[in-house]
């Protein structure tokens, strides 16, 4: 653990860490911030894009794991401050500015110039047939309709919860789903209504009609960089650079940029570079080459080949995360298993307790550590470590306990000390069972490590998470296939180790 805490989590010296949420506009804005800072200051930028939602992003910012990320004033007011969504755009901005400053020393920089708001859309054909124009109209027919809404929207007071109160809007069925999938689902008429936002570029493409918010339920949200005061004081040039974006992006431009990401399948690096160039803000050193255009249309294999260097880096990250977790898992779990075998009374309880960790949803466990450990590799390794414990402890315990009792008894009676019995008899005899536990833990860890990308730890989950957000199956596969192969490979290698550790003489008994 000492080694782990030494991992760089905090932004060091000349580095600024930019985060984003897990949808296109947030990623794009973050990339614009990042390139602007890189171009206009001497600072290095570390990107933690695609963090799983508002809470994860905010906790990461509050704890200093990231220095800034794009946020919306209305989200700040309703979701983060827990206040009702009322007031003009300006009133909301002033409110969040003063509160965030006082509570957390977090600064809302100049709004970027476009108002963004939630809206509800329905397929145009449905709107025509049912004569739907406003949300009041929708409330009338909603009990017959299926809604498909983003995960956050379903649970937010300024989302579906508030809508139900303001309009009496109740659907026959509500399906929470990824934003990128909602459009496709609506296009295929598997859902009848979905949440969209003002700057979404896809409204036109999918033939959707945005319903008028006739009771002015949705407050206007402005996008801005939410930034740590400490980072601004340490690097005043960051504030200055980001200030250039104040009022620079209007809703039309954002829609066009978003569409290039959403449907053009271009990388946010390329789109951000173009946006900055169009704004006349392109820096001397705009580094757009991190993720060159995701040449669409090519097959999976050419795509994997094209992405090979990123793939290699992610594979190594993935292996690193898993290996650290598994290594510490073995260091903790094998001694614990041995200890429990000696102290049988608490053993079953302790092992059952550890078994419960397996039932915690992976993402929840990952998110649980963010308030204490921030985002990135550290909380990911800790969470994966916890997952790895159970199979190893269980198998160590069982393996040593059930090691040929006659051999153990004879060895003791002939004068071996407890330590010698353990080292020379029980552990070698338990080795196959113990290694089976390590293998289980390894496969489990490598699989779960794909989720680490949700909290910015990188690895092969990165393209999976991004691909999910962009509904890009090729990108998802470019993470999922190597992750599966990695699990198989590691299982195979550990299988060989298990074979090598299997005491000779046990084979013949079969």
């Amino acid at each position: 653990m000492i080694l782990l805490t030494a991992l760089p989590v905090q932004a060091a010296g000349g580095t600024v860490v930019v985060g984003s949420k897990n949808f296109e506009e947030s990623r794009l804005l973050a990339e614009i911030f990042a390139q602007l800072i890189e171009g206009r200051t001497g600072l290095k930028v570390e990107r933690r894009l695609g963090l799983a939602g508002t809470q994860v992003c905010f906790e990461a910012l509050r704890t200093g794991a990231i220095d800034l990320y794009p946020e919306y004033t209305g989200t700040g007011l309703v979701t983060l401050l827990g206040e009702p969504a009322r007031g003009s755009a300006n009133q909301i901005l002033n409110r969040v500015r003063s509160e965030f400053l006082a509570r957390w020393d977090l600064w809302w920089l100049s709004p970027l110039g476009f108002e963004n708001s939630f809206e509800v859309a329905v397929p145009a054909e449905l709107a025509r047939r049912e004569g739907l124009d406003t949300l009041t109209d929708l409330a009338r027919v909603a009990p017959r309709l299926r809604g498909g809404f983003g995960y956050e929207f379903v649970g937010r007071e300024d989302g579906l919860l508030g809508l139900a109160k303001a309009y009496g809007l109740h659907f026959r069925q509500v399906q929470p789903m990824q934003q990128a999938i909602q459009y496709r689902a609506a296009g295929e008429r598997r859902i009848d209504a979905l949440d969209v936002y003002t700057t979404d570029g896809r409204l036109v493409l999918y033939n959707l009609k945005v319903l008028r918010d006739d009771r002015h339920f949705f407050p206007p949200y402005e996008a801005a960089a939410l930034t740590r005061g400490t980072a601004l004081r340490a690097h005043p040039e960051v504030g200055a650079a980001l200030g250039l974006l104040g009022g620079a992006l209007d809703a039309d431009r954002m829609r066009a940029l978003n569409l290039r990401l959403q449907e053009g399948h271009e990388s946010e690096a390329v789109v951000a570079r173009d946006a900055l160039r169009d704004l006349g803000l392109a820096g001397a050193a705009a580094r757009g080459k991190r993720q060159e255009g995701r040449s669409h249309g090519a097959g999976l294999l050419p795509y994997l080949w094209q992405e090979r260097s990123a793939l290699l880096r992610r594979t190594l990250e993935h292996l690193g995360l898993s290996a650290l977790a598994l290594g510490f898992g073995c260091l903790a779990a094998i001694p614990l298993g041995l200890f429990l075998e000696r102290h049988r009374r608490p053993a079953e309880g302790v092992i059952r307790g550890l078994g419960l960790t397996q039932t915690i949803p992976s993402l929840a466990l990952l998110a649980f550590f963010i308030p204490f450990l921030g985002v990135g590799a550290l909380p990911a390794v800790v969470a994966l470590w916890i997952y790895s414990l159970y199979p190893i402890v269980r198998n160590t315990f069982t393996g040593v306990r059930d090691a040929d009792p006659r051999a153990v008894e004879a060895a003791t009676a002939l004068g071996m000390t407890d330590g010698q019995v353990l080292r020379l008899v029980r552990l070698p005899l338990a080795a196959p069972v113990l290694m089976a536990g390590v293998r289980t833990a390894a496969v489990l860890t490598i699989g779960t490590a794909t989720l680490a990308a949700f909290i910015g730890a990188g690895g092969l989950g990165e393209p999976i998470v991004t691909g999910l957000q962009l509904a890009d199956s090729r990108m998802i596969l470019s993470g999922a296939i190597p992750a599966a192969l990695l699990a198989l490979l590691v299982d195979g290698v550990l299988g060989r180790v298990e074979g090598a550790l299997r005491p000779p003489g046990l084979e013949a008994r079969r």
Binding site: R406, A407, A410, G415, T417, L429, L506, A508
Partner: protein, 260 residues
């Protein structure tokens, strides 16, 4: 001053946590160089008694002594390294070769590898195994008789003056058992070890023991030479045992014990 017996039990009792009494007060002594055969049915306490001497079992009261010293005052590891032990099924370590198994105690005593190997070779030859043929084998590759021979070699390898044997021939087929008993008798004469052997087979006890201790219900019913016991059973249960052995139609044994 009389020489202390090699093995001694003084008023030993053993009651387990669940209330079962394994030993209900036993006194006996085994002289140096003597072979004592403890015979009795399962649960008679014979194995418990045996295991008192290498401190695999601690008595509830009373005292087990080895060469005149109370075992509770001795370090159990040092004590066990001085006492050979042969369990019923051989108890060979399945992941070690026969050589390694036989060299176990020398290894624990810190002998040089070369000397260990030499010793193992000697011991295997002594018990009638071919070191070249069987030395590199694992327990699973041996017959039951070979396993017991290897276990016996292992018990002798550390040059222990005392050997405890817990039903060493119990799991063998009749022919092999007879063969091993024969060899045991030869070795016994040659080596002059003090041995205590537990068996449920009265015939075996008569063949191998210099003296026989008959146990039942945690008590020692008789302790005498085979000849004396045959001549004067002295106890109803012992008489019935003898009748059984002689193939006579036995009267039912009081207490409900069936044939051994």
């Amino acid at each position: 001053m009389p020489v202390a017996p090699a093995l001694e039990a003084v008023g030993v009792r053993k009651t387990y946590g669940d209330g079962t009494t394994a030993l209900a007060g036993v006194d006996l002594a085994v002289a140096t160089g003597e072979t004592l055969a403890l015979v009795g049915e399962s649960g008679s306490g014979k194995t418990t008694l045996l295991r008192l001497w290498n401190r695999m079992v601690e008595p509830t009261s009373g005292e087990a002594r080895v060469e005149g010293r109370a075992v509770r005052d001795l370090d159990p590891i040092e004590l066990r390294l001085r006492i050979g032990y042969v369990p019923q099924d051989g108890g060979l370590l399945p992941h070690w070769t026969v050589f390694e198994n036989v060299a176990l105690v020398p290894r624990l005593l810190g002998w040089e590898p070369r000397r260990r190997r030499e010793r193992a070779r000697e011991m295997l030859e002594l018990v009638g195994l071919d070191p070249g043929l069987h030395g590199e084998r694992y327990s699973a590759e041996l017959s039951g008789g070979q396993r017991q021979r290897a276990a016996f070699a292992r018990a002798l390898a550390g040059d222990a003056a005392i050997v405890l044997l817990d039903e060493p021939f119990g799991a063998l087929d009749a022919l092999t058992r007879q063969e091993l008993q024969q060899q045991f008798l030869e070795l016994k004469g040659r080596l002059g070890k003090t041995m205590t052997l537990v068996t449920h087979d009265l015939g075996e006890a008569f063949r191998l023991g210099d003296r026989i201790g008959v146990m039942r219900g945690g008590r020692l019913l008789r302790l005498d030479t085979p000849e004396e016991i045959a001549r004067h059973p002295g106890d109803d249960y012992v008489r019935r045992l003898l009748d059984l052995r002689a193939g006579l139609d036995p009267a039912p044994i009081p207490g409900g014990a069936s044939a051994l």
